[in-house]
């Protein structure tokens, strides 16, 4: 056992005192002199061209400081953590229910609501796509570019086709997981202003302030060091505050009004706009010897990744690598295809596709244990990763592989308390 002087101790968290006193400042708790409230006008259709957008009535409402659409954006109008495919304000077409079309800043919250109600839009609706089956058809309308395939991955290790002959038992199942929401208790919020050095500053509920800084700078067409993003105390994230939230819209309104602007999403807007967990369908074929040693794993997975890429590329990269579970297996193959649709955007959510992969590999492992009449802990111990294991990407594990210990210690604890 290592002998540390500070590590391992349950020190009081650095932010615990202010949080129990209620003095910790979350983004919505900031207020400033001369501050405006901001809000976003969003689409109520999933897939459409905007034929007409009338902002004049909203602009004419006394107390409204500014109403902006995409034409006001001085720099770039595409953002996204990996692929820049989402507009700050829609300029070509609406791709999902809830796409941002215009932003409003006004003297009070109430006036923001009234101004938003005065914005008029006419759509030319397009066929919406809500299933991967439709998305993959030739004649399906294209959400982005000329293909609805958002990403494809193929993992191949050993020789799966040749391996089936060596199996005493083969288990085949189709698994599906559903779309989920983070439901952090704090809805997204932020405030922007020019600080006393002239930096366009955004204080926001975020998991990713440096990324936010880059996006704000690109949108405004200014150097990144002229933007300051500060994370406010953040009321949970779980991946849902990795994509940019209110930051761009706040910054754009401050850029034009030169005044502090605060945007606080209500629960509905927060859930509607933030990314969701990828629903994934996985067809799995697993082969093993009669004493329970894995021989081959072959999985096909598809997912509806929604209207924008968000963290989809991270999920599709991670799920295949993890698909065989924490088990040694000499032959692994996984093919994954994610599609763009007009569904709610799927993205980062605690686990990035590994929870879905675990539903598959553990479902298969439990099925295998039952079929072979083996104890679920025993079959896992038999296959468990250890130092020296070669994983399905060919990487050899050289240290810190405590899987077998977790199995043994969990089983021991369960025997004690259950």
């Amino acid at each position: 056992m290592n002998n540390y002087s500070v590590l391992g101790k349950s020190e009081i968290k650095v932010d615990a005192v202010e949080k129990v006193l209620g003095t910790a400042k979350f983004a919505a708790d900031y207020t400033m002199p001369n501050m405006l409230w901001g809000g976003v006008f969003r689409s109520t259709v999933p897939h459409a061209y905007i034929k007409k957008l009338n902002l004049e009535k909203a602009r004419a409402l006394p107390g409204v400081a500014c109403v902006l659409d995409h034409t006001a954006i001085p720099g770039g109008n595409r953002f996204g953590i990996i692929i820049k495919d989402e507009p700050c304000l829609v300029d070509d077409k609406v791709r999902r229910y809830g796409d941002a079309i215009a932003v409003v800043a006004a003297e009070t919250k109430e006036l923001v609501h009234e101004a938003l109600e005065l914005i008029e839009v006419e759509y030319e609706e397009l066929e919406p796509i809500f299933t991967v089956e439709r998305a993959m058809e030739e004649d399906a309308p294209k959400i982005h570019g000329d293909s609805n395939v958002h990403a494809k991955k193929f993992l191949n290790f050993g020789d799966v086709d040749a391996a089936w002959d060596k199996c005493d038992i083969i288990i085949e199942n189709t698994y599906s997981t559903h779309r989920l929401s983070h439901m952090f208790i704090e809805p997204d919020a932020g405030i922007s202003y020019y600080d006393d050095q002239g930096l366009l500053t955004v204080i926001a509920s975020t998991q990713n302030p440096h990324y936010d800084r880059g996006e704000v700078a690109v949108m405004l067409g200014i150097p990144a060091n002229q933007v300051r993003v500060k994370q406010a105390a953040t009321g949970g994230g779980f991946g849902g505050k990795l994509d940019i939230g209110v930051q761009l819209h706040c910054a754009l309104l401050t850029y034009y009004t030169k005044r502090p602007v605060k945007i606080v999403r209500d629960r509905r807007e927060s859930t509607m706009v933030s990314a969701k967990r990828h629903p994934i369908t996985m067809h799995a074929k697993t082969g093993a010897t009669k004493d329970g040693k894995l021989v081959a794993v072959d999985v096909d997975m598809v997912s509806d990744s929604g209207a924008y890429a968000s963290y989809g590329p991270a999920v599709i990269g991670r799920a295949p690598v993890h698909i065989a579970g924490p088990y040694e297996c000499p032959n692994v193959r996984c093919s994954a295809v994610f599609y763009y649709t007009n569904s709610p955007m799927a993205g980062a959510f605690r686990g990035f596709g590994v929870p879905q992969a675990a539903v598959c590999h553990e479902g298969q492992m439990n099925a295998l244990a039952r079929a072979l009449n083996m104890d679920p802990i025993e079959i896992r111990l038999k296959n468990a990763h250890k130092v020296g294991t070669v994983i399905p990407t060919g990487q050899k594990l050289t240290e810190s592989v405590g899987f077998a210990d977790t199995l043994k210690m969990a089983a021991a604890k369960a025997a004690e308390v259950m």
């Binding site: 615990a16 129990v20 006193l21 209620g22 979350f26 708790d29 207020t31 109430e110 439901m183 704090e186």
Partner: protein, 154 residues
């Protein structure tokens, strides 16, 4: 729209304000009085983040209008520590590690405070029942229950 006058006690101090009536108690506390420990998580009385102690009882301030505060005695988290000394519940939350993101914490602490004021030595089942109107997404509640039990034992 006519303004209304609200006279009430907040955290032990008399408060008198003339305000427009179209705001919730939550908005009145946060925006008129600057008591931003009162959090809005859902706006529909489901999450409990906006809980305040209203005449001795925990209530969700998003379900009340500002005008309903007239004559009431209201306690928010700001009113819990006295002369810089934290309440034992606050200390227990820190010591047990019951705070993660901290957004549900004000409502949790106040709900626990209302419980212990009435029932200083609750059973674990009573603690769980009393805290069952406050959602938390971070902690799995285990350490929150432990913290309330610890505070009660002191």
């Amino acid at each position: 729209m006519n303004k209304i006058k609200i006279t009430c006690t907040v955290n032990g101090e008399a408060v008198c304000r003339e305000v427009y009536p179209n705001q919730r108690l939550l908005d009145f506390l946060r925006e008129e009085l600057g008591l931003t420990s009162v959090k809005e998580g859902c706006g529909e009385g489901e999450c409990g983040a906006c809980t305040v102690i209203f005449n001795g009882e925990p209530v969700t301030s998003c379900c009340m209008l500002a005008g309903q505060a007239e004559g009431a005695d209201i306690v928010t988290l700001e009113g819990l520590s006295k002369n810089g000394e934290m309440d034992k519940i606050q200390k227990a939350f820190i010591e047990v590690g019951a705070v993660q993101c901290g957004f549900c914490t004000p409502g949790m602490v106040l709900t626990a405070k209302a419980l212990l004021d009435k029932n200083p030595h609750p059973t674990m089942d009573e603690i769980k029942l009393a805290m069952s109107g406050n959602l938390c997404r971070c902690t799995g509640y285990a350490k929150i229950h432990q913290a309330v039990a610890k505070a009660a034992a002191e």
